[in-house]
């Protein structure tokens, strides 16, 4: 949960560099398109031959119909936009609280050994309970409304933010802190003037990971107990044996997750263009 993707810094050098890069890109694109077209063709053919039971997987026509239906007329009186809005609101609330509390606790743990000693054991006691397992308790306490879903998001998003903030604080060159003290900074001033500015990039990485974790946990939580949201939508579609709506819902969930991650990567890159280089150096 705490965690960063190893993006291999150097992809294996492909020996055939005689062709221009543009050609290579074209070849790669063509290969990818081939697979996609092949899959789509298989989908159409199996559907039209009746090999695919519509209960199990929708034929393309039904998927398209469900897509139009969900985005224009909606499901149980709400268009999919409303479900998306509900999910995003819960996600945003959980993440916001996690970011605020997580950064504060991360700073405390990274800065003060006493705070570290006090908080670490509690963290360790709780970290092996998956966020989704808090769902039933949250529902018992708060019902199936927004807060109980947001709590699950919070629990999923909290650890990466704390750990990355802590890391950000520890990474700071101690010489810089001593230099600022020599120059007259007292008490907590080096924390605000030196440590926090230099650690922003790492904190943003933590928030990016938290965004993904939170979105995934929310989809689980909405399956367990919710009366709206994308997770609720796909579970209801399953109850109605409507495979086309499940498919549209899943694709929407995946695309939103992808959009969130891309946006966060962009933000990360803006704030700290060297992040990726540093990460690979760290390994």
């Amino acid at each position: 949960m705490t965690i960063e993707a190893p993006r291999s810094a150097t992809a294996t050098a492909i020996p055939t560099q005689s062709r221009s890069n543009r050609d290579t890109t074209m070849i790669r694109l063509r290969r990818r398109l081939t697979t996609i077209l092949l899959l789509v063709a298989v989908w159409f053919v199996t559907a039209s031959l009746g090999l695919l039971s519509e209960r199990d997987f929708p034929p393309p026509s039904a998927a398209l119909e469900a897509f139009v239906q969900l985005f224009t007329q909606g499901f149980a009186g709400k268009t999919i936009w409303v479900q998306i809005g509900d999910s995003l609101a819960r996600w945003g609330l959980g993440l916001l609280v996690a970011a605020i509390v997580g950064v504060v606790i991360g700073v405390a743990v990274g800065w003060s050994r006493a705070a570290d000693a006090a908080i670490r054991p509690i963290f360790e006691l709780l970290r092996y309970i998956p966020p989704i397992a808090w769902g039933p308790l949250a529902i018992l306490w708060l019902g199936t409304g927004m807060q109980s879903q947001a709590i699950v998001v919070f629990i999923a998003a909290f650890p990466p933010i704390v750990l990355n903030t802590e890391q950000a604080i520890r990474q700071v060159d101690p010489l810089l802190i001593r230099a600022s003290r020599t120059l007259g900074a007292k008490g907590l001033r080096p924390l605000f003037d030196v440590v926090l500015p230099s650690g922003v990039g790492t904190v943003v990485t933590g928030i990016r990971i938290a965004c993904g974790n939170g979105w995934m946990a929310l989809m689980g939580a909405e399956l367990i107990g919710a009366s709206s949201g994308l997770g609720y939508l796909i579970l209801q579609s399953q109850n109605n044996n409507n495979s086309a709506e499940i498919l549209v819902g899943m694709v929407t969930i995946g695309l939103i997750g992808l959009a969130i991650d891309s946006a966060m990567r962009l933000a990360e890159h803006q704030i700290n263009p060297d992040a990726r280089k540093e990460a690979s150096r760290g390994k």
Binding site: E4, A5, I14, R31, D116, A117, P136, W215, L223, G254
Partner: protein
Amino acid sequence: MTLTQTARVAVEPGGRGPRRRGGDRGRRYPIISLLSACGLVLLWQAVTDWLHLVSPLLLPSPVAVIDRLGLMFVTPYAGSTAGEHLLASLTAVAAGWAVAILIGIPVGIALAWWPPARDYLGIVVDILRPVPPPAWVPFALLWFGISGIGAIFVVFLSAVMPIILNTQDGVRRVDPMLIDAGKTMGARGLTTLRTIVLPGAFPGILTGVRIALGNSWMTVVAAELVASSAGIGYAMRTAQGALQSDIVIGMMLLIGAVGALTSWVVGIASRTIAPWARREDRA
């Protein structure tokens, strides 16, 4: 966890990076750590059994939870004893994880080793990756009903991605010099793969397998919470419906304990199998 779920590398607490204030942080203040851990449990006991500040319906006392948990190992609840529920969940995890290892490692090697596969096969991985594993639960229910196979299917999906991506990453990280050296000495395709690439990629593969196990455990709980007829998640779901918060919390503790235990065992096992992987393993 949309994208980063997969190839994650733990930022171990106090792991890498220059440490500002000496060695094992937290160990310096053992008394604070001890007080904080005990304090949490005592506070819980105080607000419930001693001061009656919280309704036992919402938060039963730790003593009551442990009592109830012990009883569940003897008397069946929701059709089985706690041990049997645990066995059902662990069986699904073991099956899904094993299939993910069998499929994920070859796919990961192919993706890194054979350039066309990176596109032909890689696009499929790229499409499936952003979908959070719990979002597969409706389809799993549609296809397999509430039998255990649905849970195994979802566990497999959550486990296979980190294995594929970390295997791929591990293979890419193998020093090209070693491969060239092998070729110079006459090693061909498969020999290179078996004697140089696989041992070199082993740390990455192990990391993937370990992350996969954590994901599996989290996912099986999610799948069982939504719909199942046995397992820890099922017991939790039943207890939530019956407003038995002592059982819900007891199951959470059990899930956490098993998660911690399995991660500890796998950590030891991977160090025993591949001692040379130890450093990479943490990175």
